[in-house]
């Protein structure tokens, strides 16, 4: 197991190196001049020229790439062109904001997705099965943008139950320590703030979690259907075991491997690709950070941002692979 983990971690190096090459070539292939976009129409030509020099945009691409790798190897993620702040410092709060939202969204998606999937399989061809799979189909094809706006309209504007945007009430800000507001509000001993943070998480969490929930539900259902037909389940039923016990102890465990894969993939996807949700709900997350960087051709941010996301993605996949063994003892890494 340890050997396997180390081997997988070592494999990260070529993967990430490949990532840097791909990202670097793509961003330099798209037209648009960072000096133009970042300094804007009001800036003089001479200062745009100076910025290009300073960013070494006038140098050959290979030289630029070499510089970037050299810095990266020394642990320097670079400096944002737009804000002039080091990316390593700048990206932390964004990552924390995204992580918090993703955890909530995934908790929502896993809880509802897995349970709906189990029930649908257990009650195959019942009205519940049809209904939940219809909802799952709608969920998969739902434009997040629209869902988010509808949520805001219904729960914030009409019912006034929940706040529409942001991570926290701007009139009563959380003192950031870890930048995970759920934790920060507790650290400062403010239960009321914790509650407000929770309420801010609900709408974006649901918006972000809907598609993964639908995918997980469908995957759980098909996987469970297969397992429920197997002999040992019939035996268990014959023995008169309780239905809950059969579902959750016997069936789910065996049906869970493909579901776990989907959960891991979705988790990684959400961490990097929540731009729409983050835009609608004014969530200061890493997706918007990179998205804005693309719009302003902030090359260092695009490069390092995507690299970090890729790194996390690969790590989550590794974690999922290791979890296989925990779920199913027959799986053994050598």
């Amino acid at each position: 197991m340890l050997n396997y983990t180390i081997r997988r971690l070592l494999m990260l190096i070529p993967v990430l190196l490949g990532m840097t090459i791909i990202v670097f070539s793509i961003i330099h292939a798209i037209p648009g001049d960072p000096a133009e976009v970042i300094l804007g129409e009001k800036a003089s030509n001479s200062s745009k020229e100076a910025l290009r020099k300073e960013l070494k945009l006038d140098q050959p691409l290979l030289v630029q790439y070499g510089d970037y790798l050299k810095k990266l190897a020394a642990g320097d993620l670079g400096t944002s062109i737009r804000t002039r702040e080091p990316i390593s410092a700048e990206i932390t709060p964004y990552l924390a904001a995204t992580l918090e939202l993703t955890l909530v969204a995934m908790a929502f998606a896993v809880f509802f997705g897995v349970n709906a999937g189990i029930l649908s399989a257990w009650k195959q061809n019942s009205w519940f099965d049809y209904l939940s799979m219809l909802i799952a189909l709608i969920g998969v094809s739902m434009p997040i943008f629209w869902l988010g706006l509808m949520e805001q309209w219904l729960f914030a504007l009409e019912l006034k139950w929940l706040p529409s945007i942001g991570r926290m009430n701007a009139r009563d800000p959380v003192e950031s320590v870890t930048n995970l507001y759920l934790i920060d509000s507790l650290l400062s001993g403010r239960a009321d703030q914790f509650w407000t943070v929770v309420k801010h998480l609900i709408l974006p969490g649901i918006a972000l979690g809907t598609i993964p929930m639908a995918i997980i539900a469908r995957m759980t259902r098909s996987s469970m259907l297969e397992v429920l037909r197997s002999d040992y389940i019939r035996t268990a039923k014959a023995k008169g075991l309780s239905q809950m016990f059969i579902i959750y102890k016997h069936a789910l465990r065996n049906a869970f491997i493909p579901v776990l894969t989907v959960i891991g993939l979705q988790f990684g996807l959400l961490l990097g690709g929540a731009v729409l949700t983050e835009t609608i709900f004014a969530w200061p997350g890493v997706g918007r950070y990179i998205f804005d960087a693309i719009a302003s051709r902030d090359y260092p941010v695009i490069q390092s941002g995507i690299l970090i996301i890729a790194f996390i993605f690969v790590l989550i996949n590794l974690l999922v692979d290791l979890l296989y063994a925990a779920v199913d003892p027959r799986i053994n890494f050598k």
């Binding site: 037209p31 648009g32 001049d33 133009e36 976009v37 970042i38 300094l39 804007g40 009001k42 800036a43 100076a50 910025l51 300073e54 400096t79 804000t83 002039r84 702040e85 700048e90 709060p93 964004y94 809880f111 509802f112 349970n115 189990i118 029930l119 009650k123 519940f128 706006l149 309209w153 729960f155 914030a156 504007l157 019912l159 006034k160 139950w161 929940l162 706040p163 529409s164 945007i165 942001g166 926290m168 701007a170 009139r171 009563d172 800000p173 950031s176 509650w195 407000t196 929770v198 309420k199 609900i202 239905q243 809950m244 835009t279 709900f281 004014a282 200061p284 950070y289 302003s296 051709r297």
Partner: protein, 557 residues
């Protein structure tokens, strides 16, 4: 089978109830009429009028579409940064609220020598920066030296003083020769050549004076922890989320500012921002969709706030390309745009048709210039005279702005409306709308586009800031995207820069506008009035035409 189903259903149902139950109980706890104490413990979501009036409000939450880039006023060029720096920094002069007329600020008075080369400013006494440093002549000299000396040790890595360079000339052709402290309360500016809009320029927000102590100590951190003399003091910056400034307790104007705290919140989506305003989560917002105007006007808790128009949105011809090198063709197309219809359809009526390349409130605006009316017959006739009796033979590439700006809220839709009218006179166009960075790159090179959309918001109320910047031949390669150059216009605009007699200057600009209208390098479309919305209790707010203003006088009724 039925019995298998029950526990699972109960599980799902229970979790649904937990979720909805959360919100339900919250609603009860925060219902209107709850005591001030309970509303302050969780004030976010209720947003009912009763909630916020329970405590007298002194915090303003204002929301906008994007974050600031940096908070050192002198190194930024984007409006979102200047919006915040104006709360923290003050210049020697500024503009009277709601206008571009200059008034004294940190300088109490000024004198100009008859040759227009020496400006002497008497500084306000007893003003301190919010870090306790004295504001005096040395501080002014320190700041101007930092901006003008390319080797200044306080020009930190990556700093470029773009507004200084563009208003007072880049290194090598500086307008300001030297700035000296005559005594602690007097500063003298000596110029290399007279500059007509000098005072107008000095009043611009990028020339706010920063604390020399803070600049020396914080170095390149100054841009994220700024210190000035302004009504508010920088408190906190959560990137892409919020910037908080608090009342400056030692502010030199007694009794001001009226607010205790201002939070600049980033909410990228216009609709979501408007929802947050209606929900009471924010108090003021920019960028109201014209579609939301009706809802806004129908809501008694909100008020519509209009920023005076100070911009131009235009359709430019790429004069490098045939057939737009021919002024007759350009004039013909000018007759084919129905500006009134565009304004009604896409600006919610909040704009006026543009005749000249600058807004009417600018000095030297020529009222006598007549616009080309919407007249398709005339347009066809002119096209025929230019040698195109059956319209243009080729399809023209029409670049439509992919981003929303106050002067162009929806570039693609406006382009489609114009495209339809052009088709009626036999001018076929293909609309392209590449992503913004590519767009700028392309129109700057002028190889792909035949027609393009752009606009400009004035910085300081001076005609030079529109006409020279956008249509002088020296601006080709920067903001003259039409590649327009008329020797006579060039001469008039250059003279306008150094003519210090205001009446003569106006005359120069008026003549230039006549010539530009004849040459028609653009179809000037609109001067829009950007729409803001705020809580009905908000008072004392006068938006500046330049796009940002200090919030010194704002309060809640």
């Amino acid at each position: 089978m039925n019995k298998w189903y029950k526990p699972g259903a109960a599980l799902v149902l229970a979790s649904v109830l937990t979720l909805t139950g959360c919100s339900g109980s919250d609603n009860a706890g925060n219902s209107p009429g709850s005591s001030p104490a309970s509303s302050s413990s969780s004030p976010a979501p209720s947003g009912t009028p009763a909630d916020s009036s329970a405590t007298s409000q002194d915090t303003l939450i204002t929301a906008r579409g994007g974050d600031s880039a940096a908070l050192d006023a002198s190194i930024v060029t984007d409006g979102e940064s200047l919006k915040v720096t104006q709360q923290i920094f003050e210049g020697l002069l500024d503009y009277k609220p709601g206008t571009t007329e200059i008034q004294p600020k940190l300088a109490e008075s000024y004198e100009v020598s008859p040759d227009g080369l020496t400006y002497t400013f008497k500084l306000r006494q007893g003003v301190k920066f919010s870090d306790g440093t004295d504001f005096n002549a040395d501080a002014v000299v320190f700041n101007f030296t930092r901006w003008s000396d390319p080797k200044s040790e306080f020009k930190f890595e990556g700093d470029s003083f773009d507004y200084y360079d563009s208003m007072f000339g880049p290194d090598g052709s500086r307008v300001i020769k030297e700035v000296t402290a005559v005594d602690p309360g007097t500063v003298k500016f000596v110029l290399n050549q007279p500059q007509a809009p000098f005072l107008q320029n000095i009043a611009m927000p990028p020339f706010g004076i920063g604390s020399p102590t803070a600049i020396k100590e914080k170095k390149d951190k100054f841009k994220s922890e700024p210190v000035g003399t302004g009504p508010f003091v920088f408190k906190e910056w959560k990137r892409n989320d919020s910037i908080t400034v608090e009342k400056n307790p030692t502010y030199w104007q007694q009794g001001l500012p009226k607010l205790n705290k201002v939070v600049f919140k980033v909410i990228p989506d216009n609709s979501a921002r408007f929802t947050a305003l209606q929900n009471g989560e924010i108090d003021l917002m920019e960028g109201v969709n014209p579609d939301d105007l009706k809802t806004l006007e129908g809501n008694a808790d909100l008020q519509k706030i209009v920023r005076a128009s100070f911009n131009i949105g235009y359709l430019g011809f790429n004069i490098k390309k045939k057939p737009f090198d021919n002024p007759k063709v350009r004039v013909a197309l000018n007759y084919a745009v129905n500006k009134e219809a565009i304004i009604q359809a896409f600006y919610g009526g909040l704009a006026e048709p543009a005749v000249n390349p600058m807004p009417p409130s600018t000095l030297g605006y020529n009222k006598d210039v007549q616009d080309y009316p919407y007249d398709l017959e005339k347009a066809k006739q002119l096209l025929a005279e230019a040698g195109y009796p059956s319209g243009l033979p080729e399809e023209m590439t029409f670049y439509a702005m992919p981003v929303a700006r106050p002067y162009m809220p929806d570039g693609k839709k406006v382009a489609e409306a114009i495209q339809a009218d052009f088709a009626k006179i036999g001018v076929k166009t293909k609309i392209e709308s590449p992503e913004w960075a590519t767009y700028l790159d392309d129109v700057k090179k002028g190889e792909k586009d035949d027609l393009f959309m752009l606009g400009w918001t004035g910085d300081n109320g001076d005609p030079d800031n529109f006409l020279f910047t956008l249509l002088h031949k020296d601006a080709i390669g920067s903001n003259n995207y039409s590649f327009y150059s008329n020797d006579e216009v060039n001469k008039l605009l250059s003279e306008g820069q150094s003519e210090t007699d205001s009446a003569k200057r106006e005359e120069l600009y008026k003549q230039a506008q006549v010539l530009i209208k004849q040459d028609a390098p653009w179809i000037p479309l609109v001067h829009s009035t950007p729409l803001l919305a705020g809580s009905a209790k908000l008072a004392g707010y006068t938006p500046s035409p330049t796009g940002s203003e200090p919030y010194t006088e704002i309060y809640f009724k």
